[in-house]
Amino acid sequence: MSENLKFVPHATCTFCGCVCDDMDLTVDMDEKRITKAENACVLGKAWFREHGIEQRPYALIGGREATTAEGVEEAAQILARARFPLIYGLSDTTCEAQRVAVAIADMIGGTVDTTTSVCHGPSGIAFETVGESTASLGEIKNRADMVVFWGGNPAEAHPRLFSRYAVTPKGMYIPNGRKDRTVVLVDVRRTMSTPVADIFLRVKPRSDFEVLWALRALVKGRRVDPSIERRTGVSLAVLEDLVARMKSCRYGAFLFGMGLTMTRGRHFNSGALLALTTDLNEFTHWVAKPVRGHGNVTGADNVVSWQTGFPFGVNFSRGYPRFNPGEFTTVDLLARGETDAILILASDPAANFPKAAIEHLKRIPVISLDPKTTLTSQLARVAFTTATYGINVGGTVYRMDDVAITLRPAFESPYPSDEEILSAIRDRVRALLGGNRVPAVAPAVAAAS
């Protein structure tokens, strides 16, 4: 370690949706790396430790080293020529970059989709149908005397959700912290989070909807068939006891994860939980919040909603935004082979998408923006190396409770930010289209193709 150290107080960790903004970083400015991250959880420490400056080309075009400007030109040509282009990812970058990504999608008559479609997209559908009783994490910390974690493992995925907001911290109306809270965990298996709970409901896989539906009926005083225990693994007596506790608490909060949203039933699972929350508000105050994974996936929801009216899976091919999950979401578009070019912003779908979708990725021109080498960047026609948001790049991100937080970068990167590259692509696409929105009428594209 050199003696050229820099101290960055109140920095923000963008690893997960908690977006903890109380990081105190020590940076070795000669080696361009963070040597210490006080207050960070184990995941945050790894995030800061692993994001130094790597020696990589600014851009690769077809595997050949290129400048950023050359990459921009190639990317713009691909997007301007495409008939059904798609822009995907967005969840690990700043809101400023997300805004430019949406503008490009609008300009090229394409589709913009975020990683929300493969995590809490079902919740997004449910919000539209059922509505949302919501709160900030600060409100939950200060008021919630009953917290139900459903379908998640915060101890390993969001460690500071327990310690900073929802389990142990003392709050304005929760003076004794953990002692004043009843914590319930609902999951299909025991996890590292289980010991934290006062009540653990181990439900059979794929039976969350039945449990939620039974809880709704009990809250409303309706009959529930005793066969519920055989089907879900949870007895009627346990559910009745839980309902009594939920109706008698002062302030309750559901925090739900992908164990609910991505199991059989999907948006109906999320919708059932949101409807249960509404039902409980007949008796006492309850809120529900999805626990979000990527650092700025909530920002992606907010930016895309603010610019298009819809949170993800938005298509512009008719000149106005249309929202239809299943039709305009990335996995579906790729698996059906319907898109002919894709720009992937800060995401690695080649590592986790279904095989049919990955096979189509291999058939079409891919443009990738990522600080790291990924499976997606390796199959990309154009791969940009970018600076890391939150560490090298400032801007705005949203915490999982829709609270906007400003980033305080630790040190500069030689690589451009996502926003800079996207802005250059946007300007070049605009020039290629001759100011027209519809590529077909742009002479520059016709000449180039």
Partner: protein, 273 residues
């Protein structure tokens, strides 16, 4: 002679062709029909770039036309149609007959997701399988089919009849999960098996199945009987070509009431073994 469209150049990306309705084609010659505008991805194109068009359209809005080829990337065929007839020799893409108010669509092959969303009248017959959301409410909408008939000879995906308020959805094969979810009224008949969570959140309406099914714990057994209306309905489905057995027409059905989470005035009828 009616117009006939044969797919000559399959679209490489989705083709949105809501111009393919009897009313829009009424009185057009083949060259005129070929000049109609469709949306191919993010650009406008002529219908004739993809289809070979022959014949002349019938006069008036009640004409008939035929489509031939694999139209699985052609969306919105028959959307909003009010009368006339479309016959599709092949498979067809999403949003077939969306919001149609009358007329008839016959598909000799399969249909993709969203067959007849929010239709209020007319009939759609799918000889093969259909995707998800048959006769359903569009995303963000609370009410699905308000009238008309959808008959699928094969299987369907999830959410058939989602939010339906009136009308009939008849499925010759199996239905996916959440058939009749949030149903307000209307009738769904499934000759094959029902998937999980049928009728979740239904207020009124009828779901009929010929195979045993485990319902949500918020449904309760009411009685076993032979409803007269069901005999009439099944006889009609038989006339439409669905393979309805005599035992199903004359059989006795368990009646389960639900969904107790909502009004509890819906019913699921299960053929007694």
């Amino acid at each position: 002679m009616s117009l006939a469209f044969t797919l000559r150049t399959p679209p490489t990306v989705p083709l949105e062709a809501e111009v393919l309705t009897p009313a829009r084609l009424a009185g057009l010659s083949a060259p005129e029909a070929a000049k109609l505008s469709v949306v191919h991805g993010n650009e406008r194109a002529d219908l004739g770039e993809f289809f070979q068009v022959q014949g002349t359209a019938d006069g008036g809005g009640a004409g008939e036309f035929r489509l031939t080829g694999d139209l699985s990337r052609v969306k919105h065929v028959g959307a909003g149609m009010a009368d006339g007839r479309i016959v599709i020799h092949g498979s067809v893409g999403m949003h077939l007959g969306a919001e149609m108010t009358g007329g008839e669509i016959i598909v000799e092959g399969d249909a993709a997701d969203w067959v007849g969303p929010e239709m209020t009248g007319g009939r759609i017959v799918i000889k093969g399988n259909a995707g998800h959301m048959v006769g359903a409410a569009s995303r963000g909408s609370a009410v699905g089919v308000r009238g008309g008939e959808i008959v699928v000879f094969g299987n369907t995906g999830n959410e058939a009849g989602h939010g339906m308020r009136r009308g009939l959805v008849a499925i010759g094969g199996d239905a996916g999960d959440f058939a009749g979810v949030s149903m307000l009224a209307g009738t769904i008949v499934v000759l094959g098996s029902l998937g999980w969570r049928a009728g979740a959140g239904m207020r009124r309406g009828s779901i009929v199945t010929m195979h045993p099914v485990e319902l949500l714990p918020t449904f309760s057994y009411a009685c076993t009987y032979a409803p007269l209306y069901l005999r009439l309905l099944l006889a009609r489905l038989r006339r439409l070509g669905l393979p309805v057995a005599d035992a199903q027409v004359s059989g006795r059905y368990q009646r389960w009431s639900g969904d107790a989470v909502e009004l509890n005035k819906g019913e699921v009828l299960i053929l007694e073994a």
